[in-house]
């Protein structure tokens, strides 16, 4: 047993962190939220060059995947830096189209791997939204045995996170693949989307904790840093505890996903519930420890604060995940 990242995976993480630190993601987020997608698309292009969007695309289609441990590493970093766009959805589309095969796979998978296609998708069933469908080159929907390409993004709704936009794709659309494999591929894609979102949530929580620790060290009241008060310290300690016990569930799910998504559902659900809750708890801690300024949009922190709860709920809200865990 060696339940640790290897040197190459750690180096991958370091290189993504360095690239994203230099990318000034708050500026990219502001542009994305205002409808200017160019800086975001440019950033996606650089992430694709680093291999990120090839990680869930099968090798037969120009990808590197599936590599769940690397997907977790990448998505934690993308979450830490709050990269905008349908990251989990595009990665899951690699799994969906890979499972579907046929001309749609041949058309879209190489583009996903190369970073030239941003893709959104919705799980089957009523009430689901396609994230950032207006920014996507393709929006896929599943209807029983049919995989369809949505005719248009549909009407937008605002998200609690201004850098996310929610769409109900127009019904119908052209079928691009059909057959019994579609159902299994759709289930696998949902599992992968949930897994990637868990990693994004964990990364989001990590950054919220980092920023808050930095803040309480420099903010003084009563002549001392507020971070020297036990009430503050203990809340931050509990926040770290939540994140550090979500992390092994995420990587445990990655190890199970490497053996195939069909049997990894409960492990992914456990990771998603725990990482989602830990990320959101980090947001509550960050808001409280920053005081009034945390309740404003003045700080870049607001991008992470508003993102934690949508990530907690997307692709499997905690209660649904807990039910899935008990189902085995």
């Amino acid at each position: 047993m060696r339940f640790l990242l290897d040197d190459e995976q750690r180096e991958f993480r370091r290189s993504l962190d360095a690239m994203l630190t230099a990318a000034d993601t708050p500026a990219v987020l502001r542009a994305w939220a205002a409808g200017d997608r160019a800086p975001g698309r440019a950033l996606w292009g650089r992430l694709a060059e680093a291999g990120v969007f090839a990680l869930a695309v099968p090798e037969a289609y120009g990808g590197l995947g599936p590599l769940p441990v690397e997907v977790a590493v990448a998505c934690v970093e993308l979450g830490r830096h709050a990269v905008p766009g349908p990251v989990a959805e595009t990665l899951a589309a690699g799994v969906l189209l890979g499972g579907a095969g046929g001309p749609a796979a041949a058309e879209w998978l190489p583009r996903i791997a190369a970073g030239t296609a941003v893709v959104s998708l919705v799980p089957e069933g009523p009430g689901s939204y396609a994230l950032d469908a207006d920014a996507a080159d393709a929006v896929f929907t599943v209807d029983g045995d049919e995989l369809r390409l949505a005719a248009g993004p549909g009407e937008p709704s605002a998200s609690a996170d201004p850098a996310r936009r929610l769409f109900r794709p127009e019904p119908g659309g052209a079928p691009v693949a059909e057959g019994p494999a579609i159902r299994a591929a759709a289930r696998a894609a949902e599992t992968w989307a949930s897994f990637a979102t868990a990693a994004l949530a964990l990364g989001c929580g990590e950054e919220l904790l980092r920023a808050t620790v930095a803040y309480v060290k420099q903010r003084t009241q009563f002549g001392v840093p507020v971070g020297s008060f036990q009430a503050v310290k203990h809340r931050l300690a509990d926040t770290l505890l939540g994140l550090e016990f979500a992390r092994p569930l995420l990587y445990g799910a990655a190890v199970e996903l490497a053996d195939g998504p069909a049997r990894a559902g409960a492990a992914v659900a456990a990771a998603k519930a725990t990482a989602g809750e830990a990320g959101y708890a980090a947001a509550r801690t960050a808001l409280q420890a920053h005081g009034a300024v945390g309740y404003t949009e003045e700080l870049d922190l607001a991008w992470w604060l508003r993102r934690a709860r949508p990530l907690r709920d997307a692709w499997g809200a905690p209660s649904a995940c807990r039910a899935r865990v008990l189902a085995g």
Partner: protein
Amino acid sequence: MDLAQTARTAALRAEARDWLREHVPPRPLPSLETGEGFAAHREWEALLHSGRWSAVSWPEEYGGRGADLFGWLAFEEEYWAAGAPGRVAQNGISLLAPTLLAHGTAEQRARVLPPMAGGEVVWAQAWSEPEAGSDLAALRSRAVRTGGGWLLSGQKTWSSRAAFADRAFGIFRTDPGAARPHQGLTYLMFGLRDPGVTVRPIGRLDGKPAFAEIFLDEVFVPDADVIGEPGQGWRIAMSATGDERGLTLRSPGRFLAAADRLRALWREAGDPADTALRDRVADAVIGARAYQLFTAASASRFAAGASLGPESSLNKVFWSSYDIALHETALDLLGPDAERADTAWAEGYVFALAGPVYAGTNEIQRDIIAERLLGLPKGRR
């Protein structure tokens, strides 16, 4: 990154499973916090030792199997899954033995470890004092030099199992003039029935004498029962509370087995419409897996040569909070029987309630997490 077990671990696991299937008592033993139960658990330790299962991680020469951490974790999973009794020898095996293996002499190891493994000598920890709890370095019990040894005087308290145990280990002030409270302390072993020792059992919340006060009046300890150099007691004691202890104090196997029992109870007695309770059952299942995987990561780092240090504080806060939540959930599933004191869940619940207090309160652990892992400034406690 993998979670696969080696052939050696798999073999140890299979052998343990077979042995436990044949030897675990079919009915639970009486509570080990009673005289009758203590004796029954002592016999169980002897049986375990006869199969060389009482301390699998020790070197073979002392009755162990030289298992690495992964082997120990696998054994623990099998042990608790088999419904085997609680370990009356735990304090000696998980606290004193690692200290002796790291700091003791060959003579001490050969003399102390085998009878510890067989349950012939059960050890209690004499750490806290009435005025030294979380602030352990404030301890006042003294050891004064005398011919061939030391004379212990003072009072220890909250000593788990001391009501029925044979011997104890602890730290004592040997240099009252030392510049700092952490200096001038010495790590010693003594007999709980030696002349000058008075043990007063203390009833815990359920009335069972789970711990005791120890009064010491010029109790003679020979030099042979000093561990390490006199004056180095704090360093030696802290080395036993860091590193491996963070991993070995409560094994994931214990909680995985408890979560399995809780899941079975939910299937049997749970109302499917009660989704709030269902979520808590799921959290217990998830938490046991999280703790198992967290420990697997720690053990992997340890095996790769890293030292664990303050992350053991994360571990302690997690399992002690988890254990209470799990038992509260079980009690909520028991309905009117939740009030009964004679169920395994009730016994486990009372035991779990102490978790956030002993082995360094969770408040102290959160201070350590905040200061050493997050780098926050020290403040007034």
